[in-house]
């Protein structure tokens, strides 16, 4: 039985609730959010869901097509690759690697980037101007180039490519944080806090940081899609994850050799990356729209 509302109550949704309400109006964004949650589940529960070990080679079942093809086998849902490894397991582990590692890198870069950006934003004077312009210019260097240099120094491999990509993601966070901090510093409530005698760090943690939350989330989704793209690009170029690791980009590169015999070796890993990117981008878009319009309705 529905609860009776005896008294008229004014319901003022908080900004967060407003954002959520606005977000849910966008069906595509909600669907993508479910997709993202699905990937997060894969990251956590992947090993339980995958039918086979991704490194296990079944010599007697090389290049088996996916189940929906007439030559397919129900045992290998997505078919097998040139060494007889089950594609479904590899893709699950691959999504797990790509998504999970991107998440990790984004969080890491976020912390470091925000810290650096805060310092840059809170300080003023010639030194900060110098740092700011330098940072802006360094942001201009393509991420792939930074990755190549770091890999040239440290060697190939997944861990080294992770360092490279996080280094490439940090400048964005720094830039945005610094801009935001500068903007907020001019606001009256910060002025009020300064007049009250608050120290710089107090102002930052109490007045500015809470207001940065939304921007950071949006920036994080952008960084996430960049990270996914970069990890798989480096894997594809054989500079990141090495064979036999089931990283999606590396799988794509291995699949090139048998592209005509077994097109699913290219189609499926690529589709997985595509799906990840689309869902993250749509969630990010939805969030940005929601933040923009939450107060207008």
């Amino acid at each position: 039985m529905p609860r009776l509302k005896l008294y008229q109550e004014e319901f003022y949704p908080s900004p967060l609730q407003n954002t959520w309400k606005e977000f849910t109006e966008n069906h595509a964004a909600v669907a993508s959010l479910y997709c993202v949650l699905f990937f997060i589940i894969l990251v956590i529960f992947g090993p339980l869901l995958a039918p086979f070990d991704p490194l296990q080679q079944h010599i007697d079942s090389l290049l088996v097509p996916p189940t929906w093809d007439s030559n397919g086998n129900i045992l290998y849902l997505f078919g097998t690759d040139g060494l007889g490894r089950d594609m479904l397991s590899r893709i699950i582990y691959g999504c797990r690697m790509t998504f999970g590692i991107s998440l990790l890198l984004v969080v890491l870069s976020l912390f470091i980037g925000v810290a650096l950006g805060a310092i840059a934003g809170m300080s003023s004077g010639l030194r900060s101007s110098f740092l700011n312009h330098l940072l802006d210019s360094l942001m201009a260097i393509p991420t792939l180039l930074i990755a190549i240099i770091i890999i040239a120094i440290l060697g190939t491999g997944l861990v080294n490519s992770m360092w490279a990509i996080s280094l490439a993601l940090i400048p964005q966070f720094v830039h945005q944080t610094r801009d935001l901090v500068r903007n907020k510093l001019k606001k009256e409530y910060v002025l009020a806090a300064q007049l009250d005698g608050a120290s710089k760090s107090h102002i930052f943690f109490n007045s500015i940081l809470p207001n940065m939350g939304e921007m950071l989330v949006v920036q994080a989704t952008l960084a996430m899609s960049t990270a996914i793209l970069d990890i798989s690009a480096l894997g594809f170029l054989n500079l990141g994850a090495q064979a036999p690791s089931p990283e999606l980009g590396a799988m794509l590169s291995e699949g090139l050799d048998v592209a005509y015999l077994a097109p699913w070796n290219i189609a499926l890993p690529g589709a997985a990356i595509f799906l990840m990117m689309v869902s993250i981008n749509l969630v990010g878009d939805g969030l940005r729209s929601a933040l923009r319009y939450r107060l207008l309705r």
């Binding site: 180039l145 240099i149 120094i153 690009a233 990117m277």
Partner: protein, 343 residues
């Protein structure tokens, strides 16, 4: 005006020096002997080695080594490649020209497609055409560029046989190197079958340009759409309508200019993403650009080439961005106000 110019120039010089310092330090960071990494010359015996060391002031302080290195850069000695044994300066020149050509065409193409479509989407905000363009654009920039290139090759090159999939031009055409830009070089050369060569080069250009342009044009589309929406919602546009100007007049007189200006800085920032995509696409299509050269260099552990390539690309990117920034400041009336140090 001059002040702004000077500021940008000093910024350029500053960042370039930081970059050269970084490139110099890389010689020490890369595995192997620093002198060999610096020069690219593999000395055969102890005597040749000490001779080389003396000429590069290895025995002096780090600063004098750096200074000497800087001097060498300006003279045009960018080192010798480990794998080919040839001077890097010319290799880098050629590769850079090829990359610039590809990226420029892709950028232009992206603008030709993205800008008008973005305007249409912005003007028909929240209508069907807007939604369809928006969904198309999300798909466009979510596709990993290497997957897109592979699919384009599978369909247009292998299945249909319309376009070739590697190189800039059919290898049987021997085009002498003049500027490094293939279309220009064909026109400047005195070959008997120029139109055949030109047509051939065009066909080689299509798929790589498309791979990069599709991704970039979606970003152009979204940015211009956003800008148009904001401009059309602003007060002066409303005022123009209120004054009785027709839609077309409003658009042409006020809308376009004001919508274009905020787009430019955002798109300039996209240049780096374009370059990253271009580097990946170059590898897939065997386009002889700087991206392909850098990736081959790292496969072959050719450290002098990596350093020189990095320096060249960074110089290109920074020069482009800073000069675009300067140009924007000059033509944008809002930002032309005098700046103080911390603003």
């Amino acid at each position: 005006m001059g002040k702004i110019f000077l500021r940008h120039l000093s910024l350029l010089v500053l960042t370039l020096s930081v970059l050269s310092l970084f490139s110099f330090s890389l010689a020490f960071l890369f595995p192997g002997d620093p002198l060999t990494n610096l020069t690219g010359v593999r000395a055969e015996n102890q005597e040749a080695y000490s001779h080389l060391a003396a000429s590069y002031h290895i025995n002096g302080s780090l600063f004098s080594q750096y200074w000497h290195y800087l001097g060498q850069l300006f003279v045009g000695n960018w080192g010798i490649s480990f794998s080919s044994g040839l001077p890097l300066a010319e290799e880098i020149n050629r590769s850079l020209a090829a990359s610039i050509e590809l990226s420029a065409y892709a950028l232009v193409f992206a603008f030709i497609i993205g800008l008008p479509l973005g305007f249409v989407a912005g003007l028909k905000h929240h209508k069907i055409i807007d939604y369809s363009l928006l969904s198309a654009s999300v798909i466009g920039y979510s596709i990993p560029v290497f997957w897109l290139a592979l699919i384009l090759i599978l369909i247009f090159s292998l299945q249909l046989g319309w376009f070739p999939l590697s190189g800039r031009i059919g290898l049987l055409f021997d085009i002498p190197y003049k500027s490094g830009f293939i279309l220009l070089d064909i026109l400047l050369s005195d070959l008997p079958n120029k139109s055949d060569a030109f047509y051939n080069a065009l066909r080689h250009l299509v798929l790589p340009t498309l791979s990069i342009a599709i991704v970039t044009s979606t970003i152009v589309l979204r940015t211009s759409r956003r800008s148009v929406i904001e401009v059309m919602n602003s007060d002066y546009i409303q005022a123009a309508y209120a004054r009785g100007l027709s839609s077309r007049q409003v658009l042409l007189k006020h809308g376009v200019k004001n919508a274009l200006i905020p787009i430019l800085p955002l798109l300039v920032m996209q240049f780096t993403t374009l370059l990253t995509n271009a580097m990946i696409v170059e590898t897939i299509f065997s386009w002889p650009g700087i991206g392909n050269a850098l990736i081959q260099a790292i496969y072959q552990r050719d450290f002098p080439a990596i350093r020189a390539g990095m320096l060249a690309v960074s110089v290109l990117v920074l020069t482009f961005i800073i000069s675009m920034d300067l140009m924007i400041r000059l033509i944008d009336p809002i930002r032309r106000r005098p700046e103080n140090a911390t603003a």
